[in-house]
């Protein structure tokens, strides 16, 4: 479960990037955070990962206060960034091996790594190739594999579909559905309204650091989400 209580972030330069965000994402739920560039989506994720400290309010992962016990909290969260970066001189397998050790997973063998890499749709012949030769989409897949193998109860994704080809994006969608079925709480920050319609349990629309509305699935399916989104964006 992911929670933000009155979460506020004002950067050192005075910019109010996040204004009193209240959010709760339950287990088995995919929450889409939509918003224009600069709305505060990445700021929210950075706060969940304790990369930055909140100016006010709290972030909780499985009821653990991230600011107070970051190491404990981060055991329960996996993260896929907008542009997954890996160790270029390592192969896909070596990368996932390192990050799974870092995640504190016990002994895993090569087959464990290969099956996860296969599951996210990476070609077999790419498993033992240095990652620096990978395309963005391939790196994104390895990044997702790293998040999946951690098997944490919460997942944060920051525009994971950007740069993916349609097939890869569809595979990602399928994968997220499967993860939801396993009871994970998933926060997905994106501009991708199409995928939100397909996948989201709830959608939050964010503007200038404020979460202006949260829509349930039936609410945004009744009306066209794209129209709703644009109307909120154009307001004031």
């Amino acid at each position: 479960m992911l929670q933000a209580n009155n979460l506020t972030k004002r950067y050192e330069d005075g910019k109010l990037a996040l204004d009193a965000l209240n959010l709760e994402i339950k287990d088995g739920e995919i929450f889409f955070l939509l918003g224009a560039n600069g709305a505060g989506k990445t700021t929210t994720i950075n706060l969940f990962l304790n990369f930055i400290e909140p100016t006010e309010g709290k972030v909780l992962i499985n009821n653990i206060d991230v600011t107070k016990e970051p190491l404990e909290a981060k055991k329960h969260v996996a993260y896929v960034s907008e542009n997954v970066m890996l160790y270029g001189d390592f192969t896909a397998k070596q990368n996932i091996h390192f990050f799974s050790e870092l995640a504190g997973l016990g002994k895993l063998n090569n087959e464990d790594y290969y099956s996860i890499l296969r599951r996210v749709g990476l070609q077999d012949n790419a498993f033992n190739i240095k990652v620096k030769t990978f395309s963005k989409g391939m790196r994104q897949k390895v990044g997702l594999a790293i998040a999946i193998i951690k098997n944490s109860s919460n997942i944060l994704l920051d525009e994971p579909t950007s740069g993916l080809d349609p097939k890869a994006a569809a595979e990602l969608t399928a994968e997220l559905k499967e993860l939801r079925a396993k009871g994970k709480a998933i926060l997905m920050c994106t501009h991708d309204i199409f995928r939100a319609k397909e996948l989201a349990n709830r959608v939050g629309i964010m503007k200038d650091g404020r979460l202006i509305i949260i829509l349930n699935r039936d609410e945004f399916l009744k009306e066209d989400l794209e129209k709703l989104y644009l109307s909120y964006m154009n307001e004031n």
Binding site: L49, F51, E72, K74, Y79, L102, G104
Partner: protein, 405 residues
């Protein structure tokens, strides 16, 4: 967790260009150094064995030690031939032995000390310069920190892993050539000399650690890799080239540097003055002149020694100076060893003159014991360790607050 990160740093580093660069540099430079220093040593051994040409000449010369294979230090000043002719007041020195070797004077000697001090220190900075800002730029720092891993483990893992990558090629090359040089007939390290070599090696390792940590500190303080490498270069130039001359300049400005020329003049004048006094017997006259000259020489040496002490003390506060001081002392080619040699020589010749003894024992020079060498080096080693600890703390404090975005 720490072990995981160390392992990753090593595996990653071994695949990178830096490790290859260091390995090749160490193999080539240490090998070449060994060869050059060995031929130098051979020449000195040959010189040392030469006997006096003339019956009333006494030759004093320090025996070359195998430690000169690694550290040159004050060797050229110490292994001169001091020739004392009966009836002279003082010995004359032949500054370059019996064999003329002008050309090598033009170049710095490629001893281990020089290679570590100048070249490997730069490579150590290069290993460190993008450890942190590089990983941030690469974006992997974020992914790493999204796990339950403390920043302390990350930074310690990076430091330990990469230091291992730096020091292993150095130690392997060193050991390789140490074995080879021991197979050469005529080269024999005593137990004590091996201990001394180990100390030289240890202080080299700490010295390189200090420069590596400087690189890491710069890396954690720089915004970009380019800024980091430029800063590293400036730091290197400062510590290797500017700071040592700086110490000399400070000494020149604040202390009175004794001039040998002036002393020689004073000695001449004193001699003329005494010789005017012709109611003395020939022997008494000689004794008088001798005593006067010796007291002037002694005064000069004392001033020079305190001048050298002053420069040594300033240099000791900087890594390069501290490193040079402790390695040269441990190899018995330090400034203190040189001072001791002069004092010993002086005493011996005086006792020969005073006792009218005619003992032509070639080697009167006693070296500092290992305890003495250690006590001459201990502050310098502590300074290096102090730098290393200080830098680790600095890096730690910066990295704990480091902005990973």
């Amino acid at each position: 967790m720490l072990l995981t990160i160390i392992k990753k740093e090593i595996l990653e580093g071994i695949r990178g260009y830096k490790f290859t660069l260091i390995f090749i540099s160490c193999i080539i430079l240490l090998g070449f150094s060994c060869w050059v220093m060995y031929s130098n040593y051979q020449k000195n051994v040959f010189d040392y064995k030469l006997k006096a040409l003339n019956k009333d000449e006494l030759i004093f010369r320090k025996a070359p030690s195998v430690l000169s294979l690694y550290v040159k230090g004050t060797q050229e000043m110490m292994e001169r031939s001091f020739i004392y002719k009966k009836g002279d007041y003082e010995p004359t020195e032949l500054s370059i032995g019996f064999k003329l070797d002008f050309f090598s004077q033009l170049f710095p000697s490629l001893d281990l000390l020089y290679i570590v001090k100048v070249i490997l220190s730069f490579l150590a900075l290069i290993i460190g310069f993008d450890l942190i800002c590089g990983e941030k730029r690469n974006g992997t720092l974020r992914l790493m920190l999204s796990n339950s891993v403390s920043r302390k483990d990350i930074i310690l893992g990076k430091i330990i892993g990469n230091y291992a990558l730096l020091i292993t090629p150095f130690l392997i090359s060193f050991l390789l050539y140490f074995i080879i040089i021991n197979l050469v007939p005529g080269v024999k390290f005593s137990f004590e000399e091996i201990i001394r070599v180990l100390f030289v090696l240890l202080s080299s390792a700490i010295y390189l650690l200090v420069f590596f940590l400087m690189g890491v500190a710069i890396s954690s303080l720089s915004k970009t890799q380019r800024g980091s490498i430029i800063t590293c270069f400036i730091v290197w130039i400062f510590f290797i080239f500017i700071q040592p001359s700086f110490a000399t300049i400070i000494a020149k400005e604040t202390q009175t540097m004794p001039y040998i020329r002036k002393i020689e003049e004073q000695k001449q004048l004193a001699q003329i003055e005494i010789e005017k006094n012709n109611n003395l017997s020939k022997d008494a006259l000689w004794d008088n002149i001798y005593d006067k000259k010796i007291s002037l020489t002694l005064g000069f040496r004392n001033k020079l020694n305190s001048y050298i002490n002053f420069i040594t003390k300033i240099n000791m506060f900087f890594p390069t100076g501290a490193y040079v001081i402790c390695t040269t002392n441990m190899a018995q080619y330090g400034l203190y060893d040189e001072m001791k040699l002069r004092t010993d020589l002086f005493q011996t010749i005086r006792s020969i003159v005073k006792n009218k003894a005619n003992n032509s024992e070639n080697n009167i020079i006693t070296n500092y014991s290992i305890e003495d060498s250690l006590s001459n080096s201990v502050w310098a080693i502590l300074v290096l360790i102090f730098y290393a600890i200080g830098l680790v703390l600095l890096i730690y404090m910066v990295f704990i607050k480091y902005d990973v975005r």
